[in-house]
Symmetry: C2
Subunit: 349 residues, 2 copies
């Protein structure tokens, strides 16, 4: 393997845009949830594994999630990552009760901002918010952006089974558009009302359930008319857009057929096809997908200005994946957009 170094000698900086951390205080709150009654089954499967399983995978990830210092920087150096854009790991504060969630979103943002101040050339922060209290979330996002220097919000898909398509959450969307920061719609496990068959098969997590849940969430959001109301709003989707770029033709045909026939009378008519919103209101990262065919496909159908590099640290961080991506057969200018300049532009670095 070639030596991976930071500093841009390969013609671009490597900016990884979907990197996770967890405040120890949030992990303590998770323990209370896991030990409590009526635990959300997806949360139990996900964090029950990463916090309590004895496998090398679980223990390594659990430790790395809580570090915003030496180990993370050493891992970045070893993988040639110049900068991480960091957000609170799934499911963030969204699995907690309202009061705990709002308090911990503030704590998480203060903690992350502190690390970013210590390492301004290596870390960029995405704000945690608590959709359980939309007014608080909107204010906290404003504080995080204006006072703490954060450049995005991260929302870990559903909040107790509710989706951003519900207009009660739109103060958060309104704030993000007004502050001109994107929202990273990060996966979590499907909600209780959907997850049983996935759990039965061990397909509830990152392997498949995450993508179903998060692609579904993005489609609900599009279908709600949110982007007709907030046309400048930008979302990020990881994991190669949770496959929505690949579904684009069918989504346009069938969503359009449904609206035209008024099959679901509650669906608002939209100004545009589904693909229009994907092309104008979404950026896609390749977190978890170090695979040239899928990256190039997405660049081709959404535009090379909308596809960004991400590693998915610490969940998936083999150095070989960086090398594979460095070697992609891609015009240097396009590769620089992918690794560096699209992120610089979107996050105003």
């Amino acid at each position: 393997m070639a030596e991976l170094k930071t500093g841009g000698a390969q013609g671009y900086l490597r900016i990884a845009t979907e990197e996770a951390f967890a405040p120890p205080e949030m992990m303590a709150a998770y323990v209370e949830v896991l030990d409590g009654q009526n635990v959300d089954p997806g949360f139990e499967s996900l964090m029950g594994f990463y916090m309590r399983h004895k496998s090398e995978r679980a223990t390594n990830i659990f430790r790395r999630l809580q570090d915003l210092g030496a180990e993370r920087l050493a891992d970045m150096d070893a993988r040639g990552i110049d900068r991480q854009v960091i957000g609170v790991t799934a499911p963030g504060v969204q699995v907690l009760t309202k009061d705990k969630a709002t308090a911990l979103s503030v704590l998480a943002n203060d903690q992350l901002a502190d690390a970013c101040r210590k390492h301004p050339d290596r870390f960029t922060g995405m704000a945690a918010v608590a959709p359980q209290d939309p007014a608080h979330a909107a204010k906290e996002l404003e504080r995080a952006v204006k006072k703490l220097g954060m450049r995005a919000a991260v929302i870990n898909s559903h909040t107790h089974g509710e989706y951003l398509s519900d207009q009660k959450f739109w103060p958060i969307l309104e704030a993000a558009e007004a502050l001109d920061v994107p929202i990273y719609l990060h996966p979590q496990t499907p909600p209780k009302a959907m997850i049983a068959p996935f759990l039965e098969a061990g397909l509830d997590g990152a392997v498949f359930g995450f993508g179903v849940e998060t692609g579904f969430h993005a489609l609900r959001l599009i279908g709600s008319g949110a982007f007709d109301r907030f046309p400048k709003l930008q979302f990020l989707l990881g994991h190669m857009g949770e496959a929505l770029p690949f579904w684009m033709y069918r989504l346009d045909y069938m969503y359009g057929a449904g609206l035209k026939s008024k099959r679901y009378p509650f669906q608002p008519q939209l100004k545009h096809d589904v693909s229009h919103y994907l092309k104008h209101n979404f950026h896609i990262t390749n977190s978890g997908v170090a695979w040239e065919p899928a990256i190039k496909f997405t660049q081709a159908v959404l535009g090379e200005d909308r596809v960004l590099y991400a590693m998915d640290y610490p969940y998936q961080c083999p150095p070989e994946e960086v090398e594979i991506l460095d070697r992609m057969d891609m015009a240097p200018a396009t590769k620089k957009k992918f690794f560096q300049t699209n992120a610089e532009k979107l996050f105003k670095l």
Copy 2:
């Protein structure tokens, strides 16, 4: 628009491989289900729409589904379709009780075989089976292949919430492998234990829920070890493989990580990565996806011998889509495989 003609003047025959029909007797049984107690919510949404909604879309499709004669042939002629490979529409007999399902699978096969005998140069049949009675299904598949000349089975995803990953269904897989016929795993709506959030958003049908359900089903099947047990068995997936080709990298990484860490102790170790099974035990059709980028992507990552043309008649049959596909920028030999020879080989035409 250019005139679309059958006969192969463009250098290939057009064989459409995921085309649907419904025996009127099955529709009568559906009426009883819809009027009964505790209707499956996905079935109610799907067939409640196609059988009872007054929209042009629903009424046209409902009529065309039940025709295996003049209207279908005229539609094929107008679209330049030389041959349809036909199977019972979703959810087939799988939503019925065991006795009704077995009886109607026999009736559907006799009816379809009769039409194929009348139009041997235009129609090829895929057998209906009732997984509710796996032994009957295996025998009926044998009868359909050996006595009626059918060339495949069609299974419309889950059966009352159960999946082919359950070994009680494996007599059907064993029969298909022994008879050397593929199984078309066609979508239906997600089961009761998964569908509530999809219904809430109007995303339960072909627009998105179908793909989730059917991709999920294929993954369960792979994870069950079915293809280690039946290594020659071939499945078909429509709708561009329900996006599994696009997910392939992530599936390999995360399914492998799950097995290695023994996160789900009930999962059997597999002989190969997930992508190996997709490349060796699946064929993909482009039903519902008349989109060159997705077709070429799938040819590139699975091999051009595994990607077949389908129209999805009568659910999605604009003649323009045929013309778009005719015009794909693709080597003539590859295009002929796509439209004609891959189907001839797989279905032994």
